[in-house]
Amino acid sequence: MIYREQELDLVVARRETVATDVVALTLGDAAGRALPGWTPGAHIDLVLDDTLTRQYSLCGPLRDRGSFKIAVLRAADGGGGSQYVHVLKEGSQVRVRGPRNHFALIEAPRYVFIAGGIGITPVLPMIESADRRGVPWTLDYGGRQRASMAFLDELARYGDRVRTWPEDEFGLLDLPRILGDPRPDTLVYCCGPEPLLAAVETQCAAWLPGALHTERFTPKPVEPAVGGDTPFELVLQRSGITAAVPADKTVLDVVEENGLSVLSSCRVGTCGTCEQEVVSGEIDHRDSVLTEEDREAGEYMMICVSRCRSERLVLDL
């Protein structure tokens, strides 16, 4: 049995520059077929070549089932992915995997959205959904300068619920003011560069556990295990397989070596694709997806990076 994420060959139907160094691409099926469904916060992989895969949030209208819209920042250190995407032209073919969603919009009486730079992309459909449902929300959107901030025109129609913070005009986002008054009825959704996410996490320490939802496209810094990684035994319950995971291999490596077809994509703990259900074992979580509450619950783990502290890890796989 082969188990994988859906992959589609799509074409760039539209390419537009939406800010300095940011292009928006609208991808569609050449034959006009409907694309898979998705919900706010979802992202897709662009499979650029055998070794290069990059994740981009879907930022187009929710009702549009004919295309996927993404926005890509040309980053000097983007690992080649963003450079590659920037040379795509209208009519270029691209391979897309997904969509998937580990940043889902949970219903709540009120939302605070915080976006930094290109992190605005997953927030756009969230705002569309909240606004359509009549749920109160605010967006604080920071960027280096006005010209580098994408979708300001699109956001203008929301009036003063959107506060834009070009750094060269107003400095950094005023997080103590935005988050200084924890509300039990409010969920906070934040996407942006690591320093912003880290600052928001610190600022949300006084909020209820589970109130903050973040998404990262680069791995969260992880402290290495004291004394280095240790080996453990892996039991795949559904398949009836037992195998050893040596210190220099991941659970995902060992699962694949045993011939099991499992989902995986980024292999650095950011995309959430390889999530597996844990039956037993003391998990050493090293991903950038699960929340503190998820970790405490211990029901799921990302097998591309996370390990086991106890001698035996049993997965429902």
Binding site: R4, E5, E107, R132, R133, A206
Partner: protein
């Protein structure tokens, strides 16, 4: 955890997302009368306006709660059978026979419906959320190049059991040996499963083999030759599953292209213990030939009926064993994934409920 962790509690479990389009009726069931249905535990009354449009109201007069379906449809007004109060398609009370004025705000709940012949879809979730999605596109059902027939079947089992059954092909040779394509009965080729945020699809390719009786009969293809076959299917939403079977002639002029048959099944939870199945069989070959439709109807009716009996027996065990007591095997992966998609939808709908007693450090007023 078992995919049916919830099954043990299915008697009361509302384990279906509300924010989803479900089929409420086949087009030909809805006319100039009042059709009563229960969908997701919600009684609704469905009827057709003079314009041909379909309307749906909560099946309860907001005055003294007699079901509207016990009343009458007069022009475009639903007239309650108790005091003769009349209501429009938007639910507004238009007339109270015993007085001149209509009480302020008197109205029945109305629901969004969308007719995509031959099916009528309903939205019971947040009314505004319906504008963010459309019922799944099923173009073959209305395409004149395809021949389609269908039926409605009630199954006394939770809708998840129907999805699980549809996503699991390994039961087929055991439950339906007489209808199994020949390669099913030897070693079936590996299944390829592909998932997205909201869908689970699968396909497999069978090496060339003889057609079994019913396949030969309903395609007109000879039984002394080998044909490759492809089978595919998709969990589209909590309300829809699609199966496709393709017989691939080797191109020696019998007919251009493959023989495609699509089984479209809308699963609509009546409540936690019962499901309406709106099934449609479409084919792109021998169209317009009634006897072929009848033969296919017999085959599908028989397999769906066998599954119905089996699932009702399973539902009969609901609540008699602790949750999580079933075990899973590798072939359950597609069903487990669909279950997860539904769980995520339910979690998003349940919304943010901070644990009581865990107030934020500096709670605001």
């Amino acid at each position: 955890m078992s995919p049916y962790a919830d099954v043990a509690g299915l008697d009361t479990a509302a384990n279906y997302p509300l924010n989803c389009w479900y089929v409420v009726a086949a087009s030909d069931e809805v006319g100039r009368g009042l059709l009563a249905r229960t969908v997701l535990g919600q009684p609704v009354v469905i009827y057709r306006l003079r314009s041909g449009q379909v309307a749906a109201l909560e099946d309860r007069c907001p005055h003294r709660s007699l079901p509207f379906s016990a009343g009458t449809l007069s022009d475009d007004e639903v007239v309650c059978g108790y005091h003769g109060m009349a209501f429009g398609a938007d639910g507004r009370c238009l007339r109270v026979p015993s007085q001149e004025n209509v009480p302020y705000g008197a109205r029945a709940r109305s629901f969004q419906v969308r007719e995509e012949p031959p099916l009528v879809w309903i939205w019971l979730g947040h009314p505004a959320t319906s504008t963010l999605s459309d019922p799944p596109a099923l173009p073959w059902l209305a395409d004149p190049a395809w021949d389609t027939f269908g039926e409605t079947m009630d199954v006394d089992a939770n809708y998840l059991l129907l999805h699980e059954n549809a996503l699991d092909l390994t039961h087929f040779p055991h439950v339906h040996p007489e209808f199994s394509p020949a390669p099913y009965l030897s070693v079936p080729p590996p299944l390829e499963i592909a998932v997205s945020e909201t869908s689970v699809s699968y396909h497999r390719d069978f090496p060339p083999a003889r057609l079994v009786d019913w396949q030969a009969r309903t395609t007109g293809l000879p039984q002394d030759r080998d044909y490759a076959q492809r089978e595919s299917g998709e969990f589209v939403s909590p309300g829809l599953h699609i199966d496709r079977m393709h017989i691939l002639p080797d191109g020696d002029g019998e007919r251009g292209g493959s023989y495609d048959k699509i089984l479209t099944r809308a699963f609509t939870p009546v409540n936690g213990r019962s499901t309406m199945v709106f099934w449609q069989v479409s084919r792109n070959y021998l169209t317009g030939q009634l006897q072929i439709s009848e033969q296919l109807r017999e085959v599908h009716h028989a397999t769906l009926l066998a599954d119905k009996r089996l699932l009702e027996a399973i539902q009969g065990r609901a609540g008699s064993f602790p949750a999580g007591e079933e075990f899973n095997v590798s072939a359950d992966v597609a069903a487990l994934r669909a279950q997860r998609i539904i769980e995520d939808m339910l979690a998003a709908e349940r919304g943010w409920h901070p644990a009581p007693g865990r107030a934020p450090a500096t709670a605001s007023s």
